[in-house]
């Protein structure tokens, strides 16, 4: 059915210019879908009065799940009745965000049938976002999705949809199989993902190497980043070729090594691997010449988050080197952490804040890990040590 598009003089400005226009996208849907058309109208309204027109969502969702749907109602239901209910469905993406044209079309069909026709490919956490459904459409969408093999992602105080870089599927630097691990982890924690039971959200992100192409160190409660322990692999001939082809190896590579452990003597590259901190820079600059070592695994870090409410955190080192062959043990580690955090964490306290509150030393004790100097930038500078009372000198 063809719709008469809402007038959008302000938004029309955003159809100009070389970058793909979300307004054009909205109009594409709006042309066929009354919900998308009203959504276009309400956005133009926001552009006019410089204010959003969405209210807090109520508790909407699908049966038996506590997450996966973000409820949303507009505050102008009379003017834009078709998008008065405009819920978002978070659909768990396949690991690595790979699709075939077939499966994409099937997703589109489901969404054409039940929703606004608008999507986000993808949400910041990694989900496929289906944008704009009425309450009554939720169960049918869910049933059609599971039918074609998809399931919902996380929302609320649960495990959030894990995501990962493409890793071994398309990158020569991956130190473990991020996609396999992510898929299996997601399958393993289906219950934790769908039924919020934590003090707050818990995100996993997996990156194959220290370049961290999925920003895990900044955006996940548990960040698993590939690394290696042995020597960087060097192909001296290829290195020499880079130099010959114009790479200023002193200015751009060796002088940029954070520990100065790499030297070029005009002929060969020497790396003092005991002082390499696995930053990736030299490898990044010469992908043909250098590669991570062969003894590979990952560093596990904990506690990244956005600023609400104690300030943003980057993740901090929990396990300096983890052999990803025993990847299953990470499930146990995660469960150990959830037990402690679940019992002692406060409502809306992310695990990173929780660790800061109780102290990393105590936290390690409770989850049964030994303290290691790799976990800190430096030892304490203040003398306020909680010596234990039974330690009589």
């Amino acid at each position: 059915m063809a719709e008469k598009l809402r007038a959008t003089p302000l938004l029309d400005e955003l159809e100009k210019g070389p970058w793909p226009s979300f307004v054009t996208e909205m109009k594409k849907s709006a042309a066929k879908n009354p919900m998308a058309n009203d959504q276009l109208g309400i956005l133009e309204h926001s552009y006019r009065d410089k204010i959003g027109h969405w209210k807090h969502g109520g508790l909407v969702g699908v049966m038996g799940y506590g997450g996966g749907v973000i409820g949303r109602y507009s505050d102008l239901p009379e003017e834009y009745p078709e998008c008065a209910e405009f819920h978002t469905i978070r659909v768990n993406q396949p690991a690595g965000w790979f699709y075939t044209s077939d499966v994409l079309r099937k997703l589109c069909d489901v969404w054409e049938k039940h929703g606004s026709g608008l999507t986000n490919m993808h949400g910041s956490t990694g989900d496929i976002i289906l944008l704009g459904a009425k309450t009554e459409a939720l169960e049918p969408v869910f049933s059609d999705l599971t039918e074609m093999g998809f399931d919902l992602g996380g929302s609320g105080s649960d495990v959030r949809t894990p995501s990962c870089c493409c890793g071994e599927s398309r990158c020569e630097w991956a130190c473990y199989d991020t996609m396999k691990f992510t898929h299996e982890l997601t399958q393993h924690f289906q219950d934790e993902l769908h039924r919020p039971a934590f003090p707050y959200k818990f995100k996993f992100k997996m990156a194959g190497c220290p370049n961290d192409c999925v920003a895990s160190v900044a955006r996940s409660d548990m960040s698993i980043i590939g690394t290696w322990r042995d020597n960087i692999q060097i192909d001296q001939k290829e290195v020499a070729a880079y130099v010959k082809n114009g790479l200023d190896i002193d200015a751009d590579v060796t002088s940029r090594c954070p520990t100065g452990c790499i030297k070029w003597d005009g002929k060969a590259l020497q790396i003092d691997n005991t002082n390499c901190v696995k930053c990736m820079h030299c490898i990044n600059t010469m992908p043909k010449g250098l590669a991570p070592g062969k003894d590979r695994g990952a560093t596990i870090l904990l506690g990244a988050k956005a600023p609400i409410i104690g300030g943003a955190l980057l993740a901090s080192v929990l396990v300096p080197f983890y052999d990803m062959e025993d990847a299953e043990d990470i499930y146990e580690l995660a469960e150990e952490i959830w037990d402690v955090w679940g019992e002692h964490g406060m409502n809306r306290e992310r695990v990173g804040e929780f660790i800061q509150r109780i102290g990393l030393g105590n936290f390690l004790e409770q989850i049964g890990l030994e303290p290691e100097p790799e976990m800190v930038m430096h030892p304490r500078t203040n003398p306020y040590i909680f010596f234990e009372l039974d330690e009589e000198g």
Binding site: L14, Y47, I51, R105, L118, N120, T146, Q190, N284, L314
Partner: protein
């Protein structure tokens, strides 16, 4: 009347393997190196000698199913229907036949999904919902992103390059779903007015104790209005974090005049050379000026251009500023340094300069 199929739950995502092209299955974990033959194209070469061209195209992230179907058709035409999305919401077409690369690029450009975003330059902006879908937004997301990317487009399509990757992120409120806290340049929606309390709504929807305790600065306290229990806000103590609003919808912060955007610089997440860093405040406030937010676009462009001129190869924005020093950054960008730039939150003292290590003017 057919009997309904049994309800499926907890099946998790489909297995990725079924969506991988053959060349990937074969070379999985066995890639040798990559090159960037041209802007927007990555060439990965396997130890087997196999080659894979990934052609990266722009996307507004907000996509109609019409567009998804178009992309599916293009994928069928050029690469057996194989495509993926990136962690920054670009689309990558996975091509095994080199002769299809250029025609694919041409087609994508024609359809309005230009190719680029690889190597040292600017790629897609990670962003959030804004006025499209979120109740918390202090600004729109998509409109600002579109306006900025239109202006910075030459750094996307490769007609201009930068010293290093420059990652921009956008979040429409302090919740920072766009994870702007670690970006080379971040644009962040901010409120600047203490919550206006809808007392009637509050009575119905909120618990007073949890609303009071939601406030990190203790600005909220219980009171009575018209003889009924509600809360009040001590305005001087409010830092506009909106945590109260998350907990209680009656504490509204949205404001057409005082909401707007702030600009942050110098964050990163990779471990390359330097450790991951947070973004730092560059400009505390710019007005919401839809549909094209010219002040914000100009501010971002200015920073990009000053950086482009002065930074060294492989030097991310934060690394560049650490080298030249913050005073120089403010001088070169002609951004005013104000008391708002000086941290006054929990660990503020840790950011004061505690040495003589600065350039004298």
């Amino acid at each position: 009347m057919s009997t309904p199929a049994p309800r499926k739950t907890d099946i998790g995502p489909p297995h990725y393997e079924q969506f991988l092209p053959e060349v990937i299955k074969k070379n999985y974990g066995k890639w040798k190196y990559h090159e960037r033959p041209k802007p927007g194209v990555l060439l990965h070469v396997g130890h087997s000698g196999d080659k894979l061209w990934s052609v990266r195209a722009a996307s507004a992230r907000l996509m109609s199913i019409e567009t998804l179907r178009l992309l599916a058709d293009i994928a069928d035409e050029f690469c057996d229907g194989h495509l993926r999305f990136t962690s920054r919401n670009n689309v990558e077409f996975l091509v095994v036949d080199e002769s299809k690369v250029d025609p694919l690029i041409e087609r994508l450009n024609k359809e309005g999904y230009p190719v680029g975003g690889t190597g040292p330059g600017i790629t897609n902006i990670v962003h959030t919902q804004g006025w499209i879908h979120c109740h918390s937004a202090a600004s729109d997301a998509s409109g600002v992103v579109k306006s900025v990317m239109d202006e910075l487009f030459p750094y996307y399509d490769g007609s201009k390059t930068l010293p290093a990757k420059l990652r921009i992120a956008f979040a429409c409120c302090l919740n920072m779903c766009g994870a702007v806290h670690c970006s080379d340049i971040a644009i962040l929606g901010v409120h600047r007015r203490a919550p206006v309390i809808k007392h009637d709504q509050l009575r119905g929807q909120c618990e007073i104790p949890s609303t009071v305790s939601a406030c990190p600065t203790g600005a909220i306290r219980p009171t009575t209005v018209d003889g009924r229990e509600t809360v009040e806000v001590i305005e001087e103590q409010c830092m506009f974090c909106a945590n109260c609003y998350t907990v209680c919808p009656a504490m509204t912060l949205n404001d057409p005049v005082n909401d707007g955007l702030s600009i942050w610089v110098g964050g990163k997440v990779s471990n390359a050379r330097s450790e991951p860093m947070f973004s730092k405040l560059a400009i505390p406030f710019l007005p919401n000026n839809p549909p094209r937010w010219p002040e914000t676009v100009a501010a971002v462009k200015n920073i990009v251009e000053v950086y482009a001129k002065d930074a060294r190869n492989y030097e991310r924005v934060g690394e560049w500023i650490e080298r030249i020093g913050w005073p120089k950054f403010f001088e070169m960008t002609e951004i005013e340094f104000t008391k708002y730039h000086i941290d006054d939150f929990k660990h503020a003292g840790e950011t004061y300069k505690r040495s003589l290590h600065f350039r004298q003017k």
